[in-house]
Structure formats: C-alpha cells, structure tokens
Amino acid sequence: MDFSLSEEQQLLKDSLEKFVASEYSPTQREKLLHAPAAFSADHWQTFAELGWLSIPFSEEQGGIGGGIVESAIVMEAFGRGLVLEPFVDTVLLCGQVLARSGNASMAEQYLEPLIAGELQGALAWQERQSRSSLEHCETEAKRQDGGWLLNGEKVLVSNAAANLLIVSAKQGDQVGLFAVPADNPGVTLQTLKLMDGRDAMNVTLTDCQLTAEHCLQEAGLQLLQQVVDEATVALCAEAVGAMDYLYQATVEYSKTRKQFGQPIGKFQALQHRMVDMFMLTEQCRSLLVCALCSVSDNSETVTEDISALKAMVGRYGRQVAEEAVQLHGGMGVTHEMNIGHYLKRLMMIDVTFGDADFHRRRYCNARYAA
C-alpha cells in the first residue's frame, strides 16, 4: 500500500498548480466566461504543448500512458481554480471512448488532433426521459445502405465547442456508440449557458447519416459505463479541489472580517463549523483515494467504491459550499465574490452522471442485491 505520488506525478501536480495560480484569478476567470464557448482556446493550446491532453492515452496512441491517478491530479488542481477548459469532456469522455472502443480507424482519425489540441469532444448520452440512467436511451440507430441512420434528441451535452460527439443510441436491444462529427448535416445544436459558467448544448439528430466505420461499438453500454465511471472519479477529484479551496478561503476570511470588535473566526460557533468543513473535505478525499485505488487495482468493488465517492461528494460538496456562503455573510451571496461560483460548480458536479441519491441507490444495488 502506498498513497504517495511518484516523482512524475508530483511534477505534474506542481506544474498544474502553477498554471492555476498564474492564469485563474477570479478576474481572469470572469473574462473567460464571456469568451466563445466560455473557455480559453489559448489555454487549451498550452495544455497540448505541456502534454496534459495526452496524459490518459497509451504510448501507441500518442499518449504518455497515464492512468486514473494522473487524471485526478489534473482535475483536483482544476477544481481549486474553477478551471473552465473541458478536459473531462474532450479527453476523459470523448477521448477515452475513442481510445478504448477498438475501432482503429476512428481512433487514428480523431485521437491525433485531439491530443494536439485541435479537436474538441463531447459525450452525448443524456435524454429528457433518462435522467441519470445511461441505458434508458431512446435515440435510435438504424442500419441503412451499409452505414447508419441516427434519430433522436440528446440534452445538456457538456462542451458546446465540441467538433466530435460520441452519441449513444439504441440499436436493436443494445446501446451502440457512434462518432458523430458536429458538422454532420443531420445534427442541429442549441447552445445553453449553464450556471457554472460553461456552455452546453441540446443536440437533435434528424436522419443523421454515418458510414459503417463511425459505429464505435454496436454493444457499447459496458464501455460507456466504464468511461463514465472513471470520468466521475475525475469530477469528484475536481470537487475535492474546490472544497479544499472553500474551507481555506473561509478560514482566511474569518481571520480578517471583524464584527463585535473581533475577527469572526474567534467565535467558537463558527470555529466548529469550519472544522466540520475541513472534516467533510477530508472525508471526501479519503473516498477519492479509495476509488482511485479501486480503479487502479481493478478491484471487484469498483462500482460501489465509485458510487460511494460520488454520493458523498454530492452531499458534502454542496454542504461545504453552502457553509462557505453562510460564513461570508452578505459577501457570500454576491456575484463578485467567487464563493458562489464554487457553490454553483459543486451543485453541477452533484447532478452530473447521477446525484447523491442516485449513487446511494447504485451502491445499494451493487452491494446488497441478491
């Protein structure tokens, strides 16, 4: 057992933290919110140059062969600074489906530009009736003239800058996975602004024609679940980074804000609340370590370990952020103060890939079902 980071992992962490410290002050971030697609194309190029976009891909595929731990290191650092660039969508979702699907021609065509920072990706799985369930998919894929024809609607697809969509679609009684270029004439996109500053989109597929090779897997539910599970761990790492920031920022604020002639941090009622914020953060971090080991070790309990993490992060993430708002008083409910932006991001993380209730149920099903 060893929970420490390797030398390379530590270097990666340092360079990420340096990037966040120099590029992600609240004012710098506020500017990016108004950029096209609500993130910085320049930052994305920097990520490519620093090799961050290649982290979770094998060397044969042009990557550096990193694993879940490296992805979590990236996302925790991004969580601290509320980084907007769509690393999870492009690299961990779209990129990992491509890399693992076994479809060599699609991987060859798309992974190189993705790793070079020239291609943005998204995973289009959610539908109006599905809520958090990956398998309840009503978008349909039919075989036609040796290729495929897709029809259906996907909602709240994260990363409106995506050039390539990975679409889940029912074909027969299987869920297939398809690589759909966003400029396919059968694709209509409606951009939505989200409260965490990101741009998402609703995607309508109307007789969207694809060649046979654009089908990544005809029965792809297992791959989809696996990729989503690992991305979920990375999202939780992001949440832990955000929680870490929040409790520390609250402690700092309580040392400087004075009421009744003393720093509010001197009030024992508030001290205990901040200790709890710290404790909740460390509890989440502990389940993060558990899930990281579980994925790395290919553990039998990986499903419940990931769901335990997501359930706890969903609940405690919001709780820590709500406490941070409360202890900042009026300042906490302003747009200007970044505390509220962390709350919004943690709320969105909670409802991405299933909220705390969903994952508690999934944990029960994995653990107690006969």
């Binding site: 309840h136 009421q259 009744f260 409360q326 009026g330 302003t334 200007e336 409802v351 909220d355 209730d357």
Partner: protein, 392 residues
Amino acid sequence: MHAKFTPEERVFQQEVREFMTNEFTDELAARIRHPDSFREAMIEWQKKLDAKGWAANGWPVEHGGCGWSATKRSIYSNEMALAGAPDVVPMGIKMVGPVLYSFGNEEQKARFLPATKASDIWWCQGYSEPGAGSDLAALQTRAVRDGDDYIINGTKIWTTYAQYADWMFCLVRTNTEGKPQAGISFLLIDMTSPGITVSPIISIDDEHHLNEVSFSDVRVPVANRIGEENEGWTYAKALLTYERTALSGVGYCKRTLQRIRDYAANERQGGGRLIDDPDFQARLADVEMEVTSLEYLELRVLNAVDKGGAPGMESSLLKLKGSDCQQAVQTLYWNLAAAYGGVLPGDDHQNVSGHAYGDQARREYMFGRATTIYGGSNEVQRNIIAKFGLGL
C-alpha cells in the same frame, strides 16, 4: 385540543382564496417576474390588495389595518402563498409602517402612513454598512446637525431595491461618544436628495436586488427624524423583532412542496415516474415532516397570541427554523430539476432549458441562500435564543 377553523374562519379562507385566484393573474405574475416590469407590477398588485383593504392588514384599525386575529393572519398569508402570489414588499408596510405609527409624530403619520399603505411610496431599509452587518450598532454613517438639517456622510450596503425606492428609512450616527447603541438616530431620507449614489450589487442568482448607497453631504431635514435624537436603536430594535417573526415562510414551503409532488409525478427517471422512487419519497417525506412541524410551531405561537398571551421564546425559533425549512424545500426542488436547474435563461429572461421549472428551481435555491443571512443571520439568532431564551 383541536385544529379546526371556526365557520367564520372558513368563510374568510374561501374569500381570500377566491380573491387570490381572481386577482393574481398569470399575466401579472409574468410581469412581476421580469425585472423591467417588476416595480410597476408590484405596485399594481399592492394597490389591488389595498383596494380590498388588505394591504396593511397588520396595522391598527385606525390606520387602515384589519384587526384580524392571529389565526386569520395566518390563513391570509397561507392562502396567498398557496396561490403563488407575493406578499407586499416588506420595507414599507411591514417594517417602517409599524415604526411610524408607534413612534412617529402626527405630522409624520399623516404624511407617510396613507401613502405607504397605498404603495405610493417605495421604501428601502438603510441599516447595514460595510463594517456593520451582524454588529449593526457599529454603524458609522454620520449625521451632523446644521440648523434645521442633518448633513449625512457614509455608506450603506445590501440595500434591497434601493434602485426602486422613493424613500429610505435609515440608521445614522448622531453621537460618537458612549455606548455605540446610544448614539444612533432614525431618519427618513428622500432618495432624490442631492448627494445620494445608488450602485448595483449583482447577487449569486445573477439578478440585481441589492445595492450600495453612498451619501455625500446629503441634507435631511431634522423634521424627518423619528422620535428623539440618539434613540434610534430602540425604534430599530422594535422593527427587527417585527421583521423576524414575519419570516417563517410556511405558506411558501407548502406551495413549493405541492409543486414538487406534481412535478415528480410527471418526471421520468429511467423506466418509471420519479414520485414512485422510494428514495425520492423518503427525501420528500423528510422535508414534509419538517414543514408540518414548522406550521404547528407557528400555529402554537399565533394561538398563544390570540389567547392574549405574549409570544414566548418559540417565536424566536420561527425565523431560524423557517429559513432552514425554506432552504430544505429549495434544495429538494433543485434536486428534482437535476441538471436542468443549471441552465440559465436566454435573452429577455426566457426559460430555454426545455424544462418547465429548472429555471425557477435554480433561482429560488440561489437567492434562498440569503434567507439565513438577512434579518439577523441564523448564527446571531442562535446567540439571541441562547441568551434571552435559555438564559445562558
């Protein structure tokens, strides 16, 4: 012991229900939701209530109040909330009104009470300052006497709806010696006076409700002072008590729970309806139990008042528990909306999520974070209950 209304109370309940259904139209609701028409639409609504004689129902009858029992007041506010209709903007009728009829002189009463009741004056509350939030008595805005005027310098913050206000009731420092509470005066300030600057503060729900209001050599006639110089703290404290008990929000909680049940019956999750999901039911039940207990807490307080008693320390719990309950309901509502709650409205405040209530769930949750902060934060409420309620 029973919880039945008398026949007269039932008739009253029916009357209120019908009024709300007929008068609070969808069209009016839509205009109140839109920031550009909010002020005008709220005034229109308050004028409808005033025409019915209900706008200032809590005031003494001689000033146009209704003389209702506490039970009737609770029926009224419940029915209003269940109809989704907003209560009057509190600053005028619920906050400065009682101060005016309790401590104002005859001239001030004649000048301000009828106009306040008729919503011809929009009031804002100038208490908090950058350095004086929970510790309100630390306020620094100076008022220096100059003939028949005071000259005001300083800054107020978090002033709700100052951008719409005609007048502000304001706490200022008229004496810097002795205990901080002892040097405060209560002034009424015309917002069109030269030297006042109102700057917007955008809040966490991306809306403009809050403001910073700065005063630079603003002249205010001494005749606009309520009561005695340096006695303002007493009047302000009376007002704060009034503000706190007005805040339990039972009706709002019940209406939102009703919505949540309706929506959950239509929301699909995987194969089935969300309302049939035992996990969801358990969460809904947890919140409903909290709200029912809040409702009975409020009824107990009101019943004690109707029987001629003074509201005991339970009434201090109302704001505390009421704000907790509102937030619990809002959190459940947000969870029901799931990720759709994260979609911001498009241009012109239109809901573009393709989802009926996500937008509302987000706004209510977000701004709801402030319910445990304003009107005396929940931490300060606990300090008060510990000290005066439990004698610690």
